[in-house]
Subunit: 373 residues, 2 copies
């Protein structure tokens, strides 16, 4: 895949192609990989190309070299006006994980928000699930997202009703970063009822889309969108899904990309958990019951396998405090006390004992887990 | 292992050894496998044997050849009085599956009930789980046991409170056969509160124990008892279990014996499902959500993999009727109608269509599933 820093021609060419085509057009992507975007644009402008007609339809102007320069400038202006940017492979902000999609990689991504996409994607996981969720699933999505955000993991999801929204909200509540991959343009909040949630995600994280600005969230774009969610993340957790659901396609994409696929079980009497059980049975998705287990699958080095055993030897108070200490980002005493539900003086005493066993480490900002198992 | 028809000496010897020893004594079993039970009894009677002292303790009489003949006769009489029998390897009623336990096979089994143990064990599965169960788990255990009993599978369990009792009751409600493997003697109903359930199991199925008549259900006997449950069954289904529970040991025994191990998931917020989730995660137990999935793991030939797909093409009424038709044992029209919740005339019409597709077959006694997928 392309790794050289893209020049303006290449960037503009990808911009135009992304406007002229539909997300996930594999033939086009293959041609771009073969010739470079600039030459594919030349083909459209000078020769008969299947894109030529589509380009005229999409932009309502005949694609001529001059018109296309005007269009590119117009798109850049529009992006600047709404605070969005278009990133392409080779950009410093391009998340290289997307290259795993090979010819299914997007031509570029429209993004809006304060965070750097590449940095966000280093420690990111997808939490997705049913729109028609239950309080059980929503509660879990919220709690897991908050705990993972607290461990500095970015939560990627699709902004939909139900599980997606609960995951975004949980990540925000956990003080973390979250990214919403939209099926329409990043300036088209969808669903409408989530306009304020999506605005908050933009403030604290990122809105991401393969669809150009102003593009409608059309049905087929949700499917192609799911591959971006899967590819951006080190792993995908499905929390509640009906059989044959959209989250099922995200999980399958993640599986095909060699990412960790995880599913949370639920009552077998709940149709909302049937898709999760099917993923575990039929796709060997990992059954996960807690954010700690999710972390273990994302990066086994982060959570020692025998942690549960060493915890067995601790007194109840120490075990409780240890549970409340974050793995990576130090937390101050009062936050650990609040999480553990204990008074500061007891937490202090417990931390002292845990520190002696190298189970916790004191750092600027508080305590985090130690390397000792 | 022993397969020759045992003579009276061998049977009496095993009877005496089972009274003189504790269930699950591997050293004794190895010696019996090596020398035969009769010679091991001779050792006890004539030479210094570690059993000699224990034998004297257990029976309160010094083990002499004469005393032991008296004791054997007394035990036979006692068994006859309470309608129990002692079966040993090589007996026509001995379930050969137990030979898979090798040196951990019981010396013999005390059984009481109307059914033949060997026949029962041909199609048998264990349903076990937590004593401190929830209505969710109990409902599932009851329904699964009833459905599997309806398919002519014998449900083996341990007679305990919670899941075990729900499984026995479900099997009885499903008109099937159930076996209860007790930790105490088959004439010692335990727990006491289950005296009437255990009496019903004896009437319709079997009570089984390695512990001699009158033996108390002592703590360590539950653990050794679990291996009998696992070995007698083609597979073990765990429905609700805490972490590190008795049902976990049954599942591990089943796993070690190469039997199918299955666990039913539940809410991750329920400690009663934590053991099931651990079995799926750590022991690769099959996640099962219905009796049909259980059957698939017990014998894949019984339930075609693509059944769900062919059912997709059926009209809702036919699908509902097909679901109500048993796999193996024919059911009469009125029972299928009751199960499907439809009136006879509709069921009749649906059965006609299903029969034309070879999805059901008419036989003496009603309809059962056809071979067509």
């Amino acid at each position: 895949m392309m790794t050289a820093r893209p020049d303006d021609d290449e960037r503009n060419a990808r911009l135009l192609l992304s406007v002229w085509s539909e997300p996930g057009d594999e033939q086009l992507a293959a041609r771009v990989a073969h010739l470079g975007a600039a030459r594919v644009v030349d083909e459209v402008l000078t020769r008969t190309s299947p894109l030529r007609r589509a380009a005229a339809m999409q932009t309502r102007i005949g694609p001529s070299p001059r018109d296309s320069r005007v269009l590119a400038e117009h798109l850049h202006q529009r992006a600047r006006r709404c605070g969005a940017r278009f990133v392409v492979p080779g950009d410093p902000e391009w998340p290289t994980q997307l290259d795993d999609l090979l010819t299914r990689a997007p031509l570029g991504l429209w993004i809006a928000g304060a965070t750097n996409l590449r940095t966000l994607a280093v420690f990111s996981l997808a939490i997705v699930g049913a729109r028609a969720s239950t309080p059980y699933g929503e509660g879990l999505a919220h709690a897991m997202a908050a705990e993972l955000a607290d461990e500095c993991w970015a939560v990627v999801s699709g902004g939909a009703f139900g599980i997606d929204a609960a995951a975004h909200r949980g990540a925000l509540a956990g003080g973390g970063v979250t990214a919403c991959v939209l099926a329409g343009g990043v300036d088209v909040p969808y669903p409408r009822a989530h306009a304020s949630l999506i605005a908050r995600i933009r403030e604290r994280g990122l809105l991401i889309s393969e669809t150009p600005l102003g593009g409608a969230p059309m049905r087929h774009r949700f499917r192609t969108r799911n591959r971006i969610i899967a590819a951006l993340s080190r792993g995908t957790v499905v929390i509640e899904a009906a059989l044959r659901s959209g989250s099922g396609t995200t999980a399958r994409e993640a599986h095909a990309l060699g990412r960790a696929v995880m599913a949370v079980p639920g009552p077998v009497t709940s149709p909302q958990s049937a898709g999760c059980h099917a993923l575990i049975k039929d796709m060997s998705a990992h059954l996960v019951t807690s954010s700690r287990e999710v972390l273990r699958h994302l990066d086994p080095a982060l959570v020692p396998e025998d942690e549960d055993w060493s915890r067995d030897s601790l007194a109840p108070r120490e075990a409780r405090v240890l549970d409340a200490v974050p793995l990576r980002r130090p937390a101050p005493l009062h936050r650990i006390a609040a999480t553990a539900g204990l008074v500061d003086v007891d937490v202090m005493a417990a931390l002292g004992l845990l520190e002696a066993d190298a189970l916790v480490v004191r750092e600027v900002g508080g305590w985090r887990r130690g390397s000792q198992r």
